[in-house]
Symmetry: C2
Amino acid sequence: MRRLIALFTLLAAVMMDAEAASPGKFGELYYQRASLFDKLGVDSTSIVFLGNSLTHGCEWHELFDMPQIKNRGINGDIIEGIRLRLPAVTEGHPAKIFLLCGVNDISHDLSADSIATALGELISEIRTATPTTRLYVESLLPFDSRVDRYKAIAGKEYVVRQVNALLQPIAEQAGATWINVYPAFADDEGYLRSDLSNDGLHLLGPGYLIWRDLLLPYVKE
Amino acid sequence: MRRLIALFTLLAAVMMDAEAASPGKFGELYYQRASLFDKLGVDSTSIVFLGNSLTHGCEWHELFDMPQIKNRGINGDIIEGIRLRLPAVTEGHPAKIFLLCGVNDISHDLSADSIATALGELISEIRTATPTTRLYVESLLPFDSRVDRYKAIAGKEYVVRQVNALLQPIAEQAGATWINVYPAFADDEGYLRSDLSNDGLHLLGPGYLIWRDLLLPYVKE
């Protein structure tokens, strides 16, 4: 059994290397960042922010003034992409992981059910790979597709709310801490607050300050 | 005179805010990152990495294990974009600035002469705004347009070499330290080494390790 696992790990490594050499299914940036993360590593003191462009876009270690915070965000990443690069995070058994992903899976036209299920599998995988790590699962943020910048999310604001409703019990039953960041970013109609974004999906600086205030108790606890 | 400057500063701030609210000439990401940088700030202990996607793509504070390193890169940024967001860097009078930009200006079809001139003006502006800051100007990296991922740089590898030749004396005469990183990334024909990139322009993890070794003496001095 151990030999089988070792063989599989070797095969996976060879495949990742082959993929890194030429653009694969996730686009070039994915392999650029993933190959960097492989080199940078994570240790037991690390606090890892794991996700897509919303994570990638911020300088989290500066935002919290904590050098042990590591940005493991990749623009455009999906749940499957995060699963494939999980070893570079979990093998270091970080102190904490803050997970936020799913909106790009919505843009790939997946249902709330299948997104919540895939996120549940990702959460289980993290818990199994590194049970000593405190895992925080953040709700998806609202977006505003009326801005019409990203066609693939048009009219799908309701999917965010469905995913969040499904995800909370899944996260909590897996022993993760659920952090509902959605309300702070949504306006009365459930759209991303227009004062916090210029494209209906990503955050301007003031949005990250709100996010910091929401996460601070969990980052510091 | 002071009132005029204050008025101008106020007007500029209002204009920046108006631009932040709606996509401007630099695209949404520029204003997302620039508005974040405004909130994060810089102080006299900071070491700032200032540039475009090559800077944006790395986690420099991890690469050097130095929390005072701040990433001020924005994907796709051009010299003019960096000039406009310079106050958020120079007003904090950082200990050091590592500047690398210009390749996106090449993709905008500017000549080596005009790029080197614009970079010279940027360098002067930095030196004037914060004379206590040690400024390091890095040569442009080679690229490989035969990969055919970025059409706007097709066949323009020679412009990089022209810019670098023009830029070195400009940087040195302005009292900056010139760091020629080009040779470490170029193959025998002057293309970006294919083992370090998957799109002919950006770096994979091993490329950033080479970059770290090149910059380490300057970062630590």
